[in-house]
């Protein structure tokens, strides 16, 4: 049975690999090739310009501005999302008061909360953007957030939200966290469910409180999951295209305050017809994302705990 094992595997994998090569790998490679041309996207031919597009990118203030916002998101959004996700998951699974018949329980109504947290995952990102755009509507009567603040007498906090350059990016990041936290609640809940109860019971007998059990037991045993979640969330934060494109004023405004690299790429390709330059941006994004993933994997590595 051993001999011919590889032929067998290759025979089965040939077709999927061919498809994968044509539809995934080849566009990747072509992006590199396109990024060395000045292709407009409107004609079948293009002049090669070597690495000019990359030189232009390095000197483009707009690109660095957009990348800075991506990096801000890359740092803040995963921290906020994962922290909230961990906290909620912990409360839903382990954080409840001891009730009869079970030592380790979640808070009351945990299953209902799980449903609520997960709900944004089911809605498409486009719809989420539109909903939140309307929540942020600056009108003091039509805007949900502003009319709510007005109703409880906090008129001083009313703002034009997405129209105010100082907080527009924060407004978008809040939506990003809101939309993704549910997924991590479910992910971490599943991971927590696999932690043996005996460990918790033993620690409770030793007089540990919730705080201790979380930091000494739950978090270390979940570290692998957290690390994976971190990379995944970072990639989402590097994107943010749909949210910014739909929600921001003047496509990444006001005055560039919410611009992100994917939006810059889209505008460069479809508004300015500079597909070559846009492809160079895509390659730059790939580099940044890979760098982030590698660094995360490198610095977050810990001893694996078997249980």
């Amino acid at each position: 049975m051993r001999h011919g094992k590889y032929r067998f595997i290759v025979g089965f994998l040939a077709l999927p690999l061919l498809l994968y090569g044509v539809f995934v790998i080849s566009p990747f490679v072509q992006a590199f090739q396109i990024s060395t041309t000045e292709w407009s996207g409107l004609r079948g031919t293009a002049k090669s310009v070597g690495l000019d597009n990359y030189a232009k990118l390095l000197h483009s203030g707009e690109f660095w501005n957009a990348l800075r916002h991506n990096v801000v998101m890359l740092v803040l959004v995963p921290i906020a999302t994962l922290t909230l996700g961990l906290f909620f998951a912990f409360m839903l699974n382990v954080g409840g008061r001891a009730r009869r018949g079970a030592v380790i329980t979640g808070v009351r109504g945990a299953s209902f909360y799980k449903f609520v947290y997960f709900f944004p995952q089911v809605i498409s990102i486009t719809i989420i953007s539109v909903i939140w755009f309307n929540i942020y509507n600056p009108d003091p009567h039509d805007g949900m957030l502003n009319s709510l603040l007005g109703a409880v007498g906090l008129h001083s906090l009313q703002s034009s939200w997405l129209g105010a350059g100082s907080i527009a990016l924060a407004c978008i990041m809040v939506v990003m966290v809101w939309a993704n936290v549910g997924f991590y609640v479910v992910l971490f809940s599943a991971a927590m469910a696999s932690i043996p109860r005996e460990i918790y019971e033993a620690s409770l007998l030793d007089g540990a409180n919730r705080f201790h059990t979380f930091f000494r037991i739950t978090l270390p045993l979940l570290w692998d999951t957290v690390q994976t979640g971190w990379v995944y969330m970072g990639i989402i934060a590097m994107d943010a295209f749909a949210l910014v494109q739909i929600m921001s004023v003047n496509m990444g405004g006001p005055a560039g305050a919410t611009d992100v690299v994917p939006l810059r790429l889209y505008q460069t390709a479809f508004r300015d017809s500079q597909f070559g330059y846009a492809a160079a941006m895509g390659v730059a994004m790939l580099v940044v994302t890979l760098l982030f993933a590698v660094l995360t994997m490198r610095f977050a590595r810990r001893e694996r705990i078997e249980f």
Binding site: S160, N250, G253, P254, D272
Partner: protein, 477 residues
């Protein structure tokens, strides 16, 4: 988390690498790639048949024709009506697509060399006509201009149009874009509101400031604007600069000439006026975050008196407009006695760009379809259906028009020869919408002084002028 799998990491990496090695040769099987093949060149005589008096362009009977129509605020029924006539005359069925995504849908078709024949290239996601024209992918529409018009064979099509239609549709010297609609830009207001309060539409900037104080006292915001799309404010700002400083100096701005912004006193006056409006709090609070629909709704509900807009607003805001609103548009404001253009000057110019692809199957048919749309019958159909004027002069004379449209038609008549046309936004959208738009949004929230706006606007214009990847255009005076 329990790790029960026996696969260790190193093994995984090895296998992944093997997969990669296997997949790369698969790419060799690719015969085509994203950049596609080039379309053949031709002179637009594909599918050309014999000409006759009824068929001056020589459309071949039964030849296929494909039309791609932007389906936005104007819908696409007006085009379907014209296509129905075309089908009857030439014994074919026009393949019709109505979409809001003209650019993304047609970009690959142009790159692949099989574009549709007639394209209504409008909306936020439209094709870059400047590039297409520079690449020679657009059909020269001069034969259409020289063809006899549908209604009067003695009159050429070019003689039935507003002259600016021909000027605006030119790239360098080639007339290759046909702007079908005719849009009136300006300050829109509710005739009823002004009448009820006994206010007069202001004639000058000074009158405007005075009136704004009164409006604000009455508990209404004098102005609103769609902060999500700050270029709406440019409709007025740009035209106002041309009206006060003269067209020559505006053309210098259109042509990205050095110091065109900074050396023009009209720029100082106009931007200064907007700085004053912002400083005195004459904009509806929160306008900087509104969409055009939200701003228009605030305006039709009487929360704000004035809004910068184009004549499509009547159709777009119809669902929220009260029956007795009396929608109207006023001319540009006077800056002072030194104005280069008289009172009544107005920005009214062709819009809704139609192009015929040179590489299409039936460019002649595309032009003929346009000729049908330019007949009185279809121009009036357009006016009725979408409450907009067309580039056909006087087509709506004697018709019963809706309030906004009749006000726009009246303003055009009163403007006479003084109808302004602005090219900057059409030619350099990144400069106007993104860069200047960013400045304008700060100007209107009071976060930027007029002097800084002008300085930075000049800087951005210079950057655009220097950027070799942007196709440049030149406008003669």
């Amino acid at each position: 988390m329990g790790s029960t799998s026996e696969v260790n990491r190193r093994d995984l990496v090895k296998r992944a690498a093997a997969l990669g090695i296997l997949a790369v040769p698969a790419m060799g099987a690719l015969s085509s790639c994203a950049t596609g093949g080039g379309g053949g060149s031709d002179d637009g005589t594909k599918n050309k048949g014999a000409t006759s008096a009824r068929n001056p362009l020589g459309v071949k009977n039964g030849a296929p024709l494909e039309a791609f129509i932007f389906k936005g605020g104007l819908g696409d029924q007006y085009a379907k009506d014209a296509e129905a006539d075309f089908n009857k005359t030439y014994g074919t069925t026009v393949k019709h697509t109505g979409t809001q995504q003209v650019g993304p849908k047609l970009q690959p078709r142009f790159a692949g060399g099989n574009p549709p024949d007639l394209i209504d290239n409008s909306g936020a996601d439209h094709l870059d006509m400047n590039k297409l024209s520079a690449q020679g992918q657009l059909q020269d529409l001069t034969p259409l201009l020289d063809a006899p018009s549908m209604d009067d064979p003695k009159k050429k099509v070019r003689d039935t149009l507003y002259p600016s239609t021909i000027e605006k549709g030119k790239h360098k010297d080639t007339f290759d874009v046909f702007y079908y609609a005719f849009t009136v830009y300006g300050t829109w207001y509710s005739g009823k509101l002004l009448k009820d309060k006994g206010w007069a539409y202001p004639a000058s900037f000074d009158d405007m400031i005075t009136l704004c104080a009164e409006i604000k006292k009455a508990g209404i915001a004098p102005w609103t604007y769609p902060g999500k799309y700050p270029y709406y404010v440019h409709f007025n700002i740009f035209a106002q600069i041309a009206k006060i400083g003269g067209l020559d100096k505006w053309i210098a701005i259109d042509n990205l000439e050095p110091n065109a912004w900074t050396s023009n006193d009209a720029v100082k006056q106009v931007i200064g006026h907007y700085e004053e409006l912002a400083a005195k709090g004459y904009f509806l609070e929160g306008s900087q975050g509104l969409t055009h629909i939200q701003a228009q709704t605030a305006w039709t509900r009487g929360k704000a008196a004035f809004i910068p807009n184009g004549s499509w607003v009547e159709n777009e805001a119809a669902p929220t407009t009260p029956a007795d609103f009396g929608m109207a548009v006023g001319p540009l404001f006077d800056g002072g006695s030194g104005d280069k253009m008289p009172h009544g000057t107005l920005r009214a110019e062709p819009s809704e760009p139609f192009i015929v692809a040179k590489g299409g199957k039936n460019p002649v048919g595309g032009m003929e379809l346009l000729r049908i749309m330019l007949s009185k019958k279809h121009a009036q159909n357009f006016a009725t259906k979408v409450k907009s004027l067309t580039s056909v002069q006087g087509a709506t004379d004697g018709m019963q028009l809706s309030p906004g449209l009749s006000s726009a038609a009246r303003a055009v008549k009163e403007g006479g020869k003084n109808l302004l046309m602005i090219q900057l936004q059409e030619w350099y959208p990144k400069l106007t919408d993104e860069k200047l738009g960013g400045l304008t949004s700060q100007l209107l929230t009071g976060d930027m002084k007029a002097a800084d706006w002008i300085r930075k606007a000049q800087q951005y214009a210079d950057e655009t002028a220097k950027d070799s990847s942007v196709t440049k255009f030149h406008r003669g005076s």
